[in-house]
């Protein structure tokens, strides 16, 4: 077995059978990171020492028979989860030297479950971007084609999973930042229902949209990782106080893919299959629909009429919240401070202007503008109203169907630099994913084909609130009868 392509499930089996030690597995990935990260730039920080210490502990747990399904699994963590004692940069000059004295709830839970943190992955600065080109630490390369972007903002995590620089990774998704890079890098990514996973210790971009999720080599792996992440957290007031389902158990439940799919109603939103969609993506989606039909699902067309308004709605709400969330970077308590400030105002303005990159500043400007007096009602309040209409669209669709199937991104990975200078063009690459964040729904992206350049294509399954288990079950069934997810750039 090629360890670089090992799934979380397979790795757990090897560790539990003690056919492999956590230290060996960790060492293997650390070596791979050493060899390939200089090219891919997927990691900002590698914590070899910490990882090996975690791995030794995991081995001790395994020896004592106290292991969980996640014990000893090497994990890559997007560099916006605060990790105690381990630099957390958010891919920004602003936090280039920030070492948090506290731990995010998600990483704490996963560490407690025995996972081994290899390091912190590259991303768009403060998660603002769809290509991973806004990172202060340089762009990430798509493992399928090094001249292309891996998607963003969780581009480092996506590349690390695709290139075998970890077993699984953590991402966060504000407007598609897990799903779009998953699609463009040929891996599986899940954005859970808003509130299912704690946001405590996750550096905020847009608080009402941000949600953390797993990025893995299979749906089964996503279920395993989500199981360790999800659950109520008293430290997050928007965390949902409801028991977590048994995602892994519910994946198969002992019956065949056909039995699980029989009678399932899949909605195909017609607004997602329009001119903007590339031919290859369209074709892959058609084939996926046929696959689902073969499995016994009923696919029917549905309408989400407000879809076209999602981009402007999102690009008002997210920057507005971001402009406020990023006000705390003032050069006083942490982060970058300019040299020799003349006075207080100079310190604020210069620290922020020098510490933030262009895209972050653009969004702060936009968000400040739409909230400022005289514009609030026209922009922000109107966007919040349209947000409700978008959520209502989904609600209505779910009275007719059980889940929705859409493309994840309108096209496959584009070239580095191709859209960098045109923010509007860049913003349109989130067109199929941001509705889901606005509505707070769970959505899964999984590989469903390749284009002529051998670039991966992803499809998106959107579910009802807290129906992660249903998405995972359907996605897993698809992966049982297809092998797109098993293809690798290696």
């Amino acid at each position: 077995m090629d360890l670089a392509r090992i799934t979380l499930k397979q790795a757990a089996d090897l560790l539990h059978r003690r056919a492999l030690s956590a230290v060996e597995l960790t060492q293997f990935f650390l070596e791979r990171i050493n060899a390939h990260n200089p090219t891919l730039n997927a990691y900002i920080t590698v914590d070899a020492e910490g990882a090996l210490a975690d791995a030794r502990q995991a081995d001790a747990c395994l020896a004592r028979g106290e292991a969980t399904p996640l014990t000893g699994i090497p994990l890559a963590v997007k560099d916006l989860f605060c990790t105690k004692g381990l630099r957390t940069t958010c891919a920004s000059r602003m936090l280039a030297d920030f070492i948090p004295p506290y731990e995010s709830t998600v990483t704490r839970r996963l560490r407690e479950a025995g996972m081994v943190v290899l390091g912190k992955t590259n991303m768009d600065e403060f998660a603002m971007g769809s290509s991973n080109e806004t990172s202060y630490f340089g762009p990430v390369k798509n493992p399928w084609d090094h001249s292309r972007i891996p998607g963003g903002s969780s581009g480092g995590s996506a590349a690390a999973v695709a290139a075998g620089l970890c077993v699984a990774a953590l991402g966060t998704d504000t407007g598609g930042s897990i799903r779009q890079p998953a699609a463009l890098s040929g891996i599986t990514g899940l954005k859970p229902t808003y509130g299912r996973v704690s946001r405590y210790g996750m550096i905020a971009f847009a608080s009402s949209l941000d949600q953390a999720g797993p990025m893995t080599r299979s749906v089964e792996d996503a279920a395993l990782l989500l199981q360790g992440m999800a659950g109520h957290d008293p430290l997050d007031s928007t965390s949902i106080d409801q028991a977590v389902e048994e995602y892994v158990e519910q994946l198969s439940g002992g019956v065949s893919a056909q039995e699980r799919m029989r009678g399932l109603r899949i909605g195909i939103p017609k607004e997602y299959f329009t001119d903007g969609l590339s031919e290859s993506v369209h074709k892959a989606l058609q084939e996926a629909i046929e696959r689902f039909q073969e499995l016994g699902a009923q696919c029917q067309s549905v309408s989400l009429p407000t879809t076209a308004y999602a981009i402007p709605t999102y690009y008002i709400i997210a920057p507005a919240e971001a402009s406020s969330n990023l006000a705390r970077y003032d050069g006083i308590r942490f982060g970058y401070r300019c040299e020799q400030p003349e006075d207080l105002l100079d310190m604020f303005a210069r620290s922020r202007s020098e510490g933030f990159g262009a895209e972050v500043k653009r969004r702060i400007m936009l968000g400040t503008y739409v909230l400022s007096s005289g514009y609030y009602d026209a922009y922000y309040r109107q966007a919040q109203k349209v947000r409700r209409l978008i959520a209502d669209d989904f609600h209505n669709a779910f009275t007719q169907v059980d889940l929705l199937l859409t493309p994840t991104a309108p096209e496959t990975a584009f070239r580095i630099g191709e859209k960098k200078e045109d923010p509007v063009k860049m913003y349109l690459s989130d067109i199929f994913t941001i509705n889901v964040n606005l509505a707070g729904l769970p959505a899964l992206s999984l590989p469903c084909g390749f284009d002529a350049q051998n670039l991966p294509i992803g499809m998106q399954l959107i579910g009802r609130p807290l129906q992660e288990s249903s998405l995972l079950r359907v996605g897993h069934s698809f992966q049982q009868v297809t092998d797109w997810h098993q293809r690798s750039p290696l």
Binding site: I99, P100, P101, T193, Y194, G195, S208, L209, P234, S237, T238, I240, T306, Y309, I311, P312, Y315, I316, D330, I332, R333, F334, G335, Y336, R337, E342, D343, L344, M347, F348, A349, R350, R352, S353, F356, R362, I364, M365, L366, T368, Y369, S372, A378, Y379, Q382, A383, Q384, K385, V386, R387, R388, L389, A391, P423, V424, Y427, N437, L438, A439, G440
Partner: protein, 95 residues
């Protein structure tokens, strides 16, 4: 919608960002384009629609009034660019 240089400068001041003359021109152009994209929203009838601030409808949880605290001064001050005698330092402020 087009945004002029004065507006860009005003917004930059509110956001505590320093902008060069080139950046003012660039922001004016880019923000105008983005805002043009957003004008579509005004065309939707929304008089009776309740604004949606939260992705999930829920009520605020309340914690008990219990002190749960360790003195973390040194750990937190260690993150600061400048600190002195247990304080965060800033340039001289005048009221």
């Amino acid at each position: 919608m087009s945004i002029d240089a004065a507006t860009v400068k005003h917004v930059a001041t509110l956001a505590r960002l320093r902008v060069t003359p080139e950046e003012v021109a660039q922001y004016a152009e880019q923000l105008s384009r983005i805002l043009t994209l957003m004008e579509a929203l005004g065309r939707l009838p929304t008089e009776d629609v309740e604004p949606m601030s939260h992705a999930v409808a829920m009520a605020i949880p309340e914690r008990e009034d219990v002190v749960c605290h360790l003195n973390q001064r040194e750990a937190l001050l260690a993150c600061a660019p400048e600190s002195e005698h247990g304080h965060f330092c800033v340039p001289k402020m005048i009221e």
